[in-house]
Subunit: 693 residues, 2 copies
Amino acid sequence: MVFKFTVSSAWRATRTLWLLMLVSVSVSICVCRAASSLEEDSAMENIVTEKRAEESHRQDTADLLIFIMLLTLTILTIWLFKHRRFRFLHETGLAMIYGVLVGAVLRYGIHVPRDISNVTMSCHVNASPATLLVNVSGKFYEYTLKGEIGANEVNDIQDNEMLRKVTFDPEVFFNILLPPIIFHAGYSLKRRHFFLNMGSILAYAFLGTVVSCFVIGLLMYGCVLLMKQVGQLGGDFFFTDCLFFGAILSATDPVTVLAIFNELQVDVDLYALLFGESVLNDAVAVVLSSSIVAYQPQGDNSHTFEVMALLKSFGMFIGVFSGSFALGVATGIVTALVTKFTKLRDFPLLETALFFLMSWSTFLLAEACGFTGVVAVLFCGITQAHYTFNNLSPDSQDRTKQLFELLNFLAENFIFSYMGLALFTFQSHIFNPMFIVGAFVAVFIGRAANIYPLSLLLNLGRRNKIRSNFQHMMMFAGLRGAMTFALSIRDTATYARQMMFTTTLLVVFFTVWVCGGGTTQMLSCQHIRVGVDSDLDNSSSITDGSERRSTKQESAWLFRKWYNFDHNYVKPILTHSGPPLTATLPPCCGPLARFLTSPQAYENECQLKDDDSDLILTDGDLNLTYGDITVSTDASGSHTSGAPAFAGASTSEDLDRELTYGDHELVMRGTRLVLPMDDSEPPFTDPHHRLRM
Amino acid sequence: MVFKFTVSSAWRATRTLWLLMLVSVSVSICVCRAASSLEEDSAMENIVTEKRAEESHRQDTADLLIFIMLLTLTILTIWLFKHRRFRFLHETGLAMIYGVLVGAVLRYGIHVPRDISNVTMSCHVNASPATLLVNVSGKFYEYTLKGEIGANEVNDIQDNEMLRKVTFDPEVFFNILLPPIIFHAGYSLKRRHFFLNMGSILAYAFLGTVVSCFVIGLLMYGCVLLMKQVGQLGGDFFFTDCLFFGAILSATDPVTVLAIFNELQVDVDLYALLFGESVLNDAVAVVLSSSIVAYQPQGDNSHTFEVMALLKSFGMFIGVFSGSFALGVATGIVTALVTKFTKLRDFPLLETALFFLMSWSTFLLAEACGFTGVVAVLFCGITQAHYTFNNLSPDSQDRTKQLFELLNFLAENFIFSYMGLALFTFQSHIFNPMFIVGAFVAVFIGRAANIYPLSLLLNLGRRNKIRSNFQHMMMFAGLRGAMTFALSIRDTATYARQMMFTTTLLVVFFTVWVCGGGTTQMLSCQHIRVGVDSDLDNSSSITDGSERRSTKQESAWLFRKWYNFDHNYVKPILTHSGPPLTATLPPCCGPLARFLTSPQAYENECQLKDDDSDLILTDGDLNLTYGDITVSTDASGSHTSGAPAFAGASTSEDLDRELTYGDHELVMRGTRLVLPMDDSEPPFTDPHHRLRM
């Protein structure tokens, strides 16, 4: 009886869903048609600027509506998939499929007649100013520059207004859609296992990305030379173009794979390696690609090798990366200080708004200073999670996480559905089979040249080796996604860039659908453990003293130094947690220490010192995405009894303890966040803490 | 000791605040300077389009940064005010002050030399197309139309690039900033007292706004005629312009006053009247103003009276308003159905995303169809609160409320700080003392002509009279805000419109600062009760049977009919609450009723029927804004004992009960939202419910 009911309700839901899809797609397309036909009619009349602007606005909203409908469809379908536990297609893959379908309809199903009102003027001006004032029979109209257009595109533009309208300004991706995605990644990056594997992650992200970029670049250059021989190349394609292509294809985005890892609870080390690498290599790839574009030898022969230009590019890479890093961290620190020294936490709305604005201003500040906003936002997110998050009220902690989760979800799915759409609506695709095959091979070899040699090197230094099945999995999980797309669509003016864009699109499609879809198969094929409870992992390491010591040895000397400095000085200055500065700073700094130490820090001192570890964001806390939280909550009760063992442990062991017990504390925080408690005395209201006292 | 500590921490906070202000303002201004000087330098070099676009982008981000910094400052200062319980200045008023200050600095402090790259071209074209392709020495550049510019402005534009850049496209306000504000208003409108005063609110909103519009329009026309006599008028000013001015000045926005009402717990009827009126009259004013603009008599004499044109305008008002209304309600209903028939509630992120997208698509759909998006969004918000909200998971209910609360907060403060800025940065102000004085008088008389005669009329029909001190307070609370500003900045092309814009700005400043700031004084001067606990109000009406009956008589026959229909048919179809349709529909509709009734409805039937009343959003639930929730939560415990009195009441008394006990249920919901309970069996997990069983 119960079963029958469930089936019929699921069937009902499915039917409703499909009905809705049909209705919504047809509505949005009808509206678009209506909007464009209205436009046409009025063009016959006396043309008034007001009217034209209004209709242009109407067309714009209709186009945006298509995307909203696409996203709505994606959400409904993905719900169905989740409901039925289909894991072969992630929401981003689905968004692309819908995008492709709607793109095909727009391209072949609807033909909007040529817009007669595009006027080509020939004026003798030497410059192309940002603003143009056009004097039309006595009235002045203001025009703003949108960009350069290839001579061959001029006719295309006039040909199909509809397709052109659906094509967004490429900068939208960089300035509006990417920042929340990257910030969210940074804000979720603070995990125990991320810090344990810090060295390896940095190696993969920096060294690996550069290796991958040059390997792909060189291979593609070979391919291009071959194509020139065969006569398959229809335009210029320089070595710098190849390197640029290598850079944009080196940004991995295994969002699909990570979602499945999360759901199946795959080994946490593997998760941390993949996630950490993908987050940081986005940043590296962005700066790398802009440095390559900036490579400009002096003189006329602008595509030869020149040491000075190379050094300049290299300097630019270092400068932009460190500048963006510094800016991001600086804004994070300012936010932490503001939230610490004001009592904003009494007003969660104000606090959340401030947090949002400060994080956004990082992006704007970096862009205005000529750095890379996306990179700054990433490091701002990491800093906010590490410091500011501790100062927020429980309500704001929830709000900020949920806000950026939502923004990330919307932006990501928008980009992927736009990718699908662009396959048909982008006007200057250049499908070159030889180049495409070459690119696929190069991407494969580039990823291999990143993962295997580096893993070999890293395993020399690691106690906890990266096993070969992990290496294969990392190799397989080298999906390309939002960042690759945003970088490749940013400039599609030349022949080389257009061919790159087309090829990139195909690489993204292939990796997301095939590699993303095959994740579960690959996991079982490589015999990688699933269903690993990270808390159980901990408890085993508690009982096994030797393994605990190995953790200690693994974390490098430099990292331990940094950790101690952070724990003793930075955290107490920037947050309410950590030991009071009066205890850690030399006595001569007494007044300053008293000024900077928050009253809560003194309170905390009376309690166990590991109190700040509960501010680490770990898996259980940040992956509430689809409400699968029960597992970690259950685990908390069973392991807290082991906690009193290290009451009174020395500060130098804090790192171990934080890394090992982060999750426990986290689970408590998870509980505390939900209950409307006054945070000024959390340790006494929490039963687990009381146990320990 | 404790006191001393508080003072010193407050002092520290204040110091930090001011330091931060100085730093942030100077940083943002420096960045702007740097960005513009960079622009200048490169203009000397070989001008490359790419570079120019990049610098234009840099300048844009720097300008946006100014606003972000302004908002940040506002947030920090308003925190200080709230912390110290200063009530004389609301955050919006403060945002304006900061805006004025920064505007003055930008205007007089920074002088950016004339941008040499604006080129005025004279081409012989008859049309001003939306897209322009310019052939600059063989290369094609695409330009998009921004709008018409008065001939006298051409020089201004070239004169100060900085100020021009800080000026946003007026459509930004209408298409980006207003929708979340209006949606949030609609989403918060579902209150007990709003429904009780429905008739009066509709009268004030529709009749009152029209009366106010025509009174202000006529008075201003008199003023304009006088000015013409005296020779103070420098351009055309027609009767339609006066009416338009009347329409835009009829949109009240007492956000400042309402915030204080909320904090001081002013009489709920007064609150409902003011809030309801202000929300709905925005919608009326928008449609009214666009209808007035659409008044176009045939032939050359386009400013004479013509019956046909008037009828057309009137028809347009009706058509656009009802179209927008229907669209908004329709999207709300679709969202309700989708959330009812899918099990999306298992995935709060998907649910919130869907809710957000559907609500946004209302706006886009309305705009694409030629209706008014803002009006559609308002009614969509009301429908979502009334139906969809019931189907959402507790998590999503929280998330959606918090999301729109945040968006509303940011958008509102942005608009108000932009207003302040516009006082100095807007380039075509026309300060005409006579017009300004006339406008102030007209606004005053227009508001009086709205409130007093209508209140007199309404009091004839109302049992619960609108007392004269309430009338004075409503008169006083006729602030002008975001909507008035957005309507007046939308078109500033002609002399008349520029003068209107300047005057509107002054009216907004005056009303927000003076009327907003004097609210507490006015309240005490008019002897209006403060500290009214709406729950205590209820309990007195329970014990007093006669008053309860009076409530019944007050709600009009039509409203009762609608309520019964809604309760018996619409709610059960669209939500999980209400009686099962199998019970309310005639037996012939059996299969359909079974299909549409949600399984929860059968469960609910076994319990008390007033279960759907807990889905009303009321004061306690929606005004968590600054966390002052304790009062209503305390009240819940003390009054629930009266509840068992109406176990088993008949359906016809549901309205009374819902209206009277909405708050109780609400408080429970408030509690329930916080606890991670499964909503499928809420009545049994809630202790208050158990009491009643």
